[in-house]
Amino acid sequence: MSLTMIAGHEVHVDDEGFMTDYDEWNEELAKTLAANIGIELGERHMEAIRFLRDDFKTEGETATLRRVTTLGGIPTKELFQLFPKKPAKKMAYVAGLPKPAGCV
């Protein structure tokens, strides 16, 4: 974990670049993080991101795709359109959360 700059803010990230401090994240940063991986954030992206943030707060771990679908109400197909190829990891990155640890 090291202190780095993202969009003019000092934030802590791990070796790969995932943010490690929940409270350092904000929606402005999310835009930069998304742009870093070629995604332009729309309202639907933000719904997924906000669900992930809220869920992490209560559960203490990053939600799996299935949770985002069943509890967050965003269908699997749409998640793969919003965050192509690797939705779980890409969402976690943009949401400033660790990669999901679950297998499903």
């Binding site: 090291s2 202190l3 790969e16 670049g17 991986i37 679908t69 192509p84 190829k85 990891k89 990155y93």
Partner: protein, 169 residues
Amino acid sequence: MTMTMEAPIPVFEDEESEDRKLAIICSKGSLDMAYPGLVLANAAVGEGIETHLFFTFWGFDIINPKTMGHLQFTPVGNPATHMPQMIMGLPGMTSFATHMMKKQMEGLDVPDVPEFLEMITDAGGHLWACKMSADMMHLGKDDLYDRVEAVISASDFMELSSGAQIIFI
């Protein structure tokens, strides 16, 4: 004055995963043998890997709408349950063990078989049925789960799995 470095950007390796292809052959129809294939397939599609599931022989129970929701787990002949085999063969033990396993899976937030297949196909995974097994069981494409793309022969499978990593379960 110390300079703070720009944060690294994770490498999601989209191009590399685009080239990667995985084919999983599901040949068993018990609950405990259905899950490994489904878990791996689901993980693979989630990594952007082109994923194919080929169902053959007893694996047909996973894609037969009549059975897919009722796969069973039997502790008989399975030393890994660490239970006396004579007791495991008693009437009712299979449904008891199945019930226990399903409860554990649910506790881990693992979906049941039909929902799992829905997730995998929504994520872009492909389902195929083996022709020889279909003939043997007198089942056609219409008798199978509607997301099975086609009933294909062993040589068709060889063609579509060209360049893929293959897992046999």
